[in-house]
Assembly symmetry: C2
Homo-oligomer: 102 residues x 2
C-alpha cells in the first residue's frame, strides 16, 4: 500500500496535467486532429493549446504537421507511438491507484 502511494510521486506529469490529459484522450482515438478542433473540444485558448502542444511535441508524445487547407494554414496533430504508450501507462497507473485505495 505505501509503495502504491509513493508511486504517485513519479507519475507522468506531462500527461497528468488536465489539459494535456484531455488532449491525449482525444488523440488516442482519432488518428489525427487539427488545431481548432482540439481547441473546441478542450475549451483551451489558442495560446494555451499552442504551449501544451509544444510541450507534448518536445517530449515526443505527439507529431505536429504544419500544412495548408487551400491557402489557409492547418496544423495537424497526432499521437506518436511513444505518446500512446505513455498515455496507456498513465491510465494503467491511475487505475491501479483507484483500485488499491478503493
Amino acid at each position: 500500500m505505501p509503495s502504491d502511494l509513493r508511486g504517485l510521486a513519479d507519475i507522468d506529469r506531462l500527461i497528468h496535467e488536465p489539459a494535456r490529459l484531455a488532449l491525449a484522450a482525444i488523440l488516442s482515438v482519432v488518428e489525427s486532429a487539427d488545431f481548432l478542433y482540439l481547441q473546441r473540444e478542450t475549451g483551451l485558448t489558442k495560446g494555451n493549446l499552442s504551449s501544451h502542444l509544444a510541450k507534448l511535441e518536445e517530449a515526443g508524445y505527439i507529431a505536429i504537421e504544419k500544412t495548408y487547407r487551400g491557402r489557409i494554414p492547418l496544423t495537424l496533430v497526432r499521437l506518436t507511438d511513444a505518446g500512446a504508450a505513455a498515455y496507456r501507462a498513465y491510465r494503467a497507473r491511475f487505475k491501479k491507484f483507484l483500485e488499491k485505495t478503493g
Copy 2:
C-alpha cells in the same frame, strides 16, 4: 464525450497534485496521522510535506492539531468532512473519465 473532457479542466487541482492525492488517500483511511508518519508514507521531504499540509489546511480539507508526545512536539493531521467529500468527488470524477475514455 467532449463535455467529459472539458470537465477535466475544472477538476480539483488541490487534490490532483500527486503528493496531496497521496496524503488524501492515506488520511481517508486512518482517522489521524502524525507528521513523520505521513513523511515516511509519501516519501516527501519535511519542507514539501509542510507546505502541502498548509495548502490543504487553508482549503479546509484537513485539520492540524499541534500537541506533544511527552515534551516532543507532535503534529496530528486528520481529514475534515469537506476534505473527505472533496477526495470522494475527485475519485468519482476521475473514475468516470477513465471509464468514458476506456
